[in-house]
Symmetry: C2
Subunit: 264 residues, 2 copies
């Protein structure tokens, strides 16, 4: 018997920061048939709240660090304000959403990141996904909506990369479902030429990915994003796509599909 389909979508700041874009996306997302799951990033709201509270970003060696005050703010904004506003809007569109942090139902277990004695503050790297419980939710017609807050099972909440959460959940759920993982961001896909928004590279396999890094066509933020994608594909996720919000509409045909197969 073939596995049921599960459609996972990750949205980032470009949609979250724009009220109309978010409402439009959530309406389209609600209209998707079958099992689905949403992961959302943070956007600018946490910075705005921090600023209004008079908190300054803590930087160590040019990197932003999640100190205790920042962790409080992101927990409030990601797990509270954004997660509940998204959930309430999905409910309006008859999508039975349920907002979750990684602490809820022990869904995402993580540990505080420490690399070569560098303290990243309260940043968490994912150790385990409670796929059995997420399956229970899905089988009860619930659409899980994850923010990027995890926990260490020792009472500590941790700030975690939302792209990574999406790929880790996609990998874990591949045990039960045929998973399609969609990264929705500001561009139509991975671009051949950053100055031409329509120069979307429609298919990327691992060979091509390595060429793109070597030639400098992809760099900075796109490298870890694609790394997450290929990691997911290698570990059992069926399909990974990258594109803008129209990606989840059937009418859209310009986006990037990733594959671990050789291109034929």
């Amino acid at each position: 018997m073939s596995k049921q389909q599960l459609y996972i979508v990750k949205i980032g700041g470009n949609i979250i920061d724009n009220e109309m874009a978010l409402a439009s996306f959530l309406k389209d997302f609600s209209a998707l048939e079958g099992l689905k799951l949403l992961v959302h990033g943070g956007g600018k709201k946490a910075d705005e709240i921090s600023e209004s509270m008079g908190l300054s970003s803590k930087m160590i060696a040019g990197r932003r660090v999640t100190d205790e005050a920042t962790l409080e703010v992101v927990t409030m904004v990601y797990a509270g304000l954004l997660n509940k506003e998204i959930t309430a809007q999905l409910q309006k569109f008859d999508c039975n959403a349920l907002g979750l942090s990684g602490a809820d139902g022990n869904c995402i277990l993580a540990h505080k990141r420490i690399v070569a004695d560098v303290d990243y503050g309260f940043a968490g790297d994912v150790d385990a996904i409670n796929s059995e419980f997420i399956k229970v939710l899905l089988q009860n017609k619930v659409t899980p909506v994850f923010c990027a807050i995890t926990h260490d099972k020792n009472g500590q909440l941790l700030n975690t990369n939302a792209d990574t959460i999406a790929s880790e959940i996609a990998i874990a759920m591949s045990e039960f479902y045929e998973v399609t993982l969609n990264y929705v961001f500001e561009l139509k896909g991975v671009l051949e030429n950053i100055k031409d928004e329509n120069s979307v590279i429609q298919y990327i396999n691992i060979e091509k990915y390595e060429q793109l890094i070597e030639s400098g066509i992809i760099s900075e933020g796109m490298v870890p994003k694609l790394h997450n994608c290929f990691n997911a594909l290698k570990k059992g996720v069926q399909k990974v796509n990258i594109g803008n919000a129209s990606l989840i509409k059937n009418t859209n045909n310009l986006f990037t599909s990733l594959t671990i197969d050789n291109l034929s």
Copy 2:
């Protein structure tokens, strides 16, 4: 076949505002065997955050009103910070907690309160509890942890009284379980003499309740609290108790038990 027991506890600001009291309570709560559910109020944190953001409380005719900015803050603090900190701590004590607002899984449907043309802002009165879904969570060994944020199924989050949420959930779950509802607050129980902390009235039935109101022994905040309690008892909740944090420990024997039966 007799129904399974469900133990519901509501905690308020006096515990939430005190880090050590909260940790101690959550440890005791985790140790309770059987099915359980927690409802928490807000405490002072929302005021502190509002203040640090330079927001002032909006008062209309001496009443505090939940305007849009306040709703944002309480959603952040109740559904985000407090709910997730409580959930993460319970997870630490091996209680598989899952934090919820009323929007999550459409658990608590409410409508914006409008009484005789008075605008209470974004305050919600409860219309329905999704008892079937809460039962699914309980049967999957999850301990639901509710904050006092609800939704109207039209995309609007609403600020709701936590005592009322606890009693409405208790009533709804009585369909499936023998429910004990426990209100934990700063006193040992309902006091005969407010100046004597040990003058706990151990049993109150409806007759006694009316006498206590008439004689002025109970007033102000205690009247709606007891109203919630008796409403719950009339609508199928098995037991309602009021006391301090020691209420949930078996060793405690000084608290107030409410009953709708005649005292014999």
